[in-house]
């Protein structure tokens, strides 16, 4: 009973947005709840028919994929070293990375912006990709390190006896075995990048590289009186994230709980 009520509250805003997208703005004020009198698909098709929405989607995708590849590759190397090597300064280094977990991004936003400006990375996708990867390192390293430690030491001995170099072992044995963990951290990185708003807001001063969250905000500003159109745009902007979630739910939740309990 309680669940039904909470469930209804959770669904309502989303359902309301979907239905409103099929109405005209006039109908929205006369008939806010009911099913649309006439299912107008115009709001949706208009957005999908213009290139703008697709460009935002492309930008978001490119930035998310690049960030993920970078952060996972670099973190995997570092996590391997933390997990399988004993060397002087290991704990200090690891502590340096883990302290990164408690800095909110906002603390570094301003100097980061100035740094990117002096490097000429404003309005360049790298200006978002590199910092996102850097801020994703702590969590990714912690999760992967925990996973790499569970790989039995005998495997490593066997590989070394067969003449495997440390990197050879990492590349040929460890990474293929760590596929599930790599999947988990990749999903986390994709979602984080996809939803980032603050950094693209700072870095992209013109609309060439805007991502979806920025696009939605701008669209609302532009068509503030045309509620129905804004709703349609919102719904379309949510679809990719929700679709991705329904496919990668397990990895995402696994990653979050692993990160939270081991962080």
């Amino acid at each position: 009973m309680i669940l039904v009520l909470v469930g209804a509250v959770m669904v309502l805003p989303l359902a309301y947005a979907v239905l409103s997208g099929f109405k005209s703005t006039d109908e929205l004020s006369t008939n806010p709840f009911g099913l649309p009198e006439h299912w107008l698909t115009g709001n949706y098709t208009q957005i999908l028919g213009s290139g703008d929405f697709w460009k935002l989607l492309g930008n978001s995708t490119l930035i998310a994929v690049a960030t993920t590849v970078l952060v996972v590759a670099v973190s995997a190397l570092a996590a391997f070293s933390f997990a399988r090597f004993a060397f002087r300064g290991r704990e200090v280094l690891f502590t340096v990375f883990t302290t990164g977990l408690m800095f909110p991004f906002a603390v570094a936003a301003l100097p980061l912006f100035l740094l990117l400006r002096s490097l000429g990375l404003l309005d360049n996708p790298l200006g978002v990709i590199l910092p996102q990867a850097a801020f994703g390192l702590p969590m990714t390293i912690i999760i992967l390190r925990g996973f790499f430690r569970q790989i039995p030491g005998e495997l490593e001995e066997a590989a070394t006896l067969d003449g495997c170099s440390p990197f050879g072992f990492f590349w040929r044995v460890l990474l293929p075995m760590a596929r599930p963990a790599l999947g988990t951290v990749s999903v986390l990185a994709v979602v984080t990048s996809w939803n980032n708003f603050f950094l693209p807001l700072l870095v992209f001063t013109d609309n060439t590289w805007w991502t979806l969250p920025i696009g939605v905000q701008q669209f609302q500003g532009q068509y503030s009186a045309e509620y129905a159109r804004v709703f349609a745009y919102l719904v379309l902007a949510m679809v990719p994230a929700l679709a991705f979630y329904s496919v990668a739910e397990r990895q995402l939740i696994g990653g979050l709980t692993a990160g939270a309990t081991k962080g």
């Binding site: 929205l28 190397l77 997990a83 906002a106 100097p111 912006f113 100035l114 850097a134 919102l234």
Partner: protein, 332 residues
């Protein structure tokens, strides 16, 4: 669990113990150095990224906070602690601190207990359990900016969904201004935050609940403990590590709130929903008082640091015992 990439412990054909000569000692030292270089070599890419894009900016903010500076060239007009004195006399910033406290308080008093209740409910065998779980967690994957736009429409004054619903159940006068009224703006924002984030905390609790051995609850049942006693004396203590982490994440999240506020209210009406991050953004990117804005960053950093350290020292201590040496720091 042991690593074979340990210096001088390699079992290979090349490690028959050499005769103890100065020559061999040098060789060993060289091998040890090589080993260290290999280990650190793997760290290098991550270190470079992290130092240049995370640590340096934060250190630079620490430096710039002591200057009057517009953000061009290098800071040169040294003003000592003036920025900080001004900051702690700035009514808007003091309001930010207060609002931050309010959000933390509301989260701990309402959002997390609600998430816990839902987690306990969904931990039972119910029809449609998976569907509810999926639904409650779904908003977490939406961007805060997109969530903000959605709810600015839902709570549109007099014409949004919320007012229509209240009107429909005979509470027509209750709604109204929502985000536009200083007295209700924070509460409304908190509602949106709860809609978006309680599912995340619920998921953490569910993961924790599932790791509680069934025998324990059964034993309590046999001992004649009622549902409340079982929850109070078995579930809650065993869930403590998860709760502590969840509280930590929730507090850090409240301190850095930006996206949602920026999209919905930009801190208005009249600063009544401004957060530290929003104030910092206003001064740094709109008014070009970069030194002053840096001081805000530094205070934010300080608050996070002090909170994290005291929290670790007093609350997480048992969970983290030996966490740097084993991955069994999560109390299992």
């Amino acid at each position: 669990m042991t690593s074979t990439f340990l210096p001088d412990k390699r079992s290979g054909p090349d490690v028959a113990l050499p005769p103890p000569t100065a020559d061999a000692a040098r060789g060993r030292a060289r091998r040890r150095r090589l080993h260290w270089l290999t280990a650190v070599g793997f760290q290098l890419p991550a270190l470079v990224l992290f130092i240049v894009l995370v640590l340096l900016p934060i250190l630079f903010a620490l430096y710039a906070a002591f200057f009057r500076w517009g953000g061009f060239g290098m800071p040169s007009d040294y003003t000592g602690t003036d920025n900080f004195t001004r900051l702690f006399q700035d009514p808007v910033f003091l309001g930010d601190l207060w609002r931050c406290l309010v959000l933390v308080g509301l989260s701990l008093a309402l959002q997390l207990p609600f998430a816990l209740a839902m987690g306990v409910l969904l931990n039972q065998r119910l029809r449609g359990r998976a569907a509810y779980r999926m639904l409650f967690f779904a908003p977490y994957v939406l961007s805060e900016a997109i969530t903000g736009v959605l709810f600015s429409m839902v709570f549109a004054p007099d014409d949004g969904l919320a007012d229509h619903i209240l009107g429909g159940i005979g509470l027509g006068g209750v709604g109204g201004e929502w985000f536009a009224d200083p007295s209700s703006v924070m509460a409304t924002l908190f509602l949106v935050m709860t809609w978006k984030y309680f599912g995340f905390h619920m998921m953490l609790y569910l993961a924790g609940l599932q790791s509680i051995p069934a025998e324990l609850t059964e034993a309590a049942l046999i001992d004649g403990a009622g549902p409340w006693q079982r929850f109070r004396n078995v579930t809650l203590p065993l869930l403590a590590p998860t709760l502590r982490i969840s509280v930590f994440l929730s507090v850090i999240g409240s301190i850095q709130l930006f996206d949602l506020v920026w999209v919905v209210t930009q801190g208005g009406p009249d600063h009544h929903s401004e957060t530290m991050a929003v104030t910092m953004f206003q001064y740094g990117f709109k008014r070009y008082q970069v030194g002053y804005a840096s001081a805000i960053s530094v205070v934010m950093f300080g608050i996070c640091l002090v909170f994290a350290l005291t929290y670790q020292r007093f609350v997480l201590r048992r969970d983290l015992e030996g966490a740097t040496t084993t991955m069994r720091g999560d109390g299992t």
